[in-house]
Symmetry: C2
Subunit: 210 residues, 2 copies
DNA sequence: CTCCAGAGACGTACACCGTACGTATCCATC
DNA sequence: GATGGATACGTACGGTGTACGTCTCTGGAG
């Protein structure tokens, strides 16, 4: 009999904390139950199964995105803000990001960003077809960037633990990689993200003026 | 005593086939061993552990990318070709794509595409710094696109099994999503990928002419 | 008040997982 | 022939998700 009754939000919160503390692989129903000082099977009174629990984790993280959308602002500023909001929440829950990204949600939390983005793009003057295409491009870029940032993904670049480095590669087989090793080894994720984001926004602006 | 002796390539091939047949979750040392008609622990004579086996899977898939690079071609055509080569191999091994994308490789197979891309960009006239930045943007976009294509990732769009559809959402909460449902529900992955790719290439071309 | 139904917490049990370890078999070398 | 190194294999351990049965508590109905 825990002092606070077991509940779905408490379970999800514990799961999120556990993921951030020990990584997504460490998530097990037993670990969560132990964390809450509760029997394993008690969890199943509030959550149908582990998959659903991870869905709830993703949804909870997503729902914490803070959109400070100004409908009067330039559309370029608005999409920039929305993209950055995504990145911000991901860097707040770095290890949950993989969980969020790797499961498709059909809930309110998952659809709200889509709605906002489409609204912005259409107000900017894009047709429905182009708005959807643009949104997909932006999402692809954001997802890919977050994965790199979180450490998954073929970053090639700075190795997990920075004991092995790119400059150890054979400079004959990989002259470019060898020469650019200093640049490849460092990565300012925020600047890097902004760089590509500006490219995409600019490209969309070009398309709009036709 | 199998008619063919057990070997690392045979194990990897079996793993790839198993992933494509039943999904990445179905991969277990026992399943692979059964597939090869072999004892479970025999696998460990050729592969140190499961992680390493999945690394080998990723590496094998990556190494099958066919780069038909023409050094005399326009750089825009060359990066387009390289990006498409990635997408092609991913659509050939759809269910392995998640495995490939979600682990960073530092092998020859993983570094070769990087070397090629950097070489192309530098020949085009980009400085080392900009080449690396551009490469990272392209990789992010490609990875994100492949994930959507493979069915992971918040596609929002066409649901796993096409029995639930976007147009079931509340049109009051999500007017844009509701209105654009027909567009959101269909997705020509190849065209979609090309769309964003052209945007990025064009944006890079603009940067080059300064 | 008694009684009883429902909910929630819990323990046990099962099938499956990765893999450490010991062993049996083959073959090339001394 | 003896030996030593691969290689195949079986057993066993600690972990996983969860189906199922049981216990306790609580809140109305009679």
């Amino acid at each position: 009999m825990p002092v606070q009754p077991l509940s779905r939000p408490r379970i999800v919160a514990s799961a999120i904390a556990l993921i951030e503390r020990e990584g997504a692989d460490a998530v097990s129903m037993r670990a969560i139950a132990a964390d809450l000082g509760v029997g394993v099977m008690s969890l199943y009174n509030h959550v149908p199964n582990k998959e659903a629990l991870l869905d709830a984790v993703a949804e909870t993280v997503l729902s914490q995105i803070e959109f400070t959308d100004d409908p009067d602002a330039e559309w370029t500023d608005r999409v920039r803000m929305q993209a950055l909001a995504f990145r911000q929440i991901a860097s707040h829950y770095p290890r949950c990001t993989m969980v969020v990204v790797s499961r498709q949600l059909r809930s309110t939390a998952g659809l709200l960003p889509v709605e906002r983005a489409l609204d912005t793009l259409r107000q900017a003057g894009f047709g429905g077809d182009e708005a959807v295409r643009a949104l997909r491009v932006f999402i692809a870029y954001i997802v890919g960037s977050l994965l790199r940032e979180v450490g998954v993904t073929p970053t090639f670049a700075p190795v997990h633990r920075s004991d092995v480095r790119v400059d150890e590669v054979d400079p004959v087989l990989f002259p470019q990689v060898g020469e650019l090793a200093p640049i490849l080894d460092e990565c300012d994720h925020e600047a890097e993200f902004a760089f590509g984001l500006e490219m995409l926004i600019q490209a969309m602006a070009v398309r709009l003026n036709r």
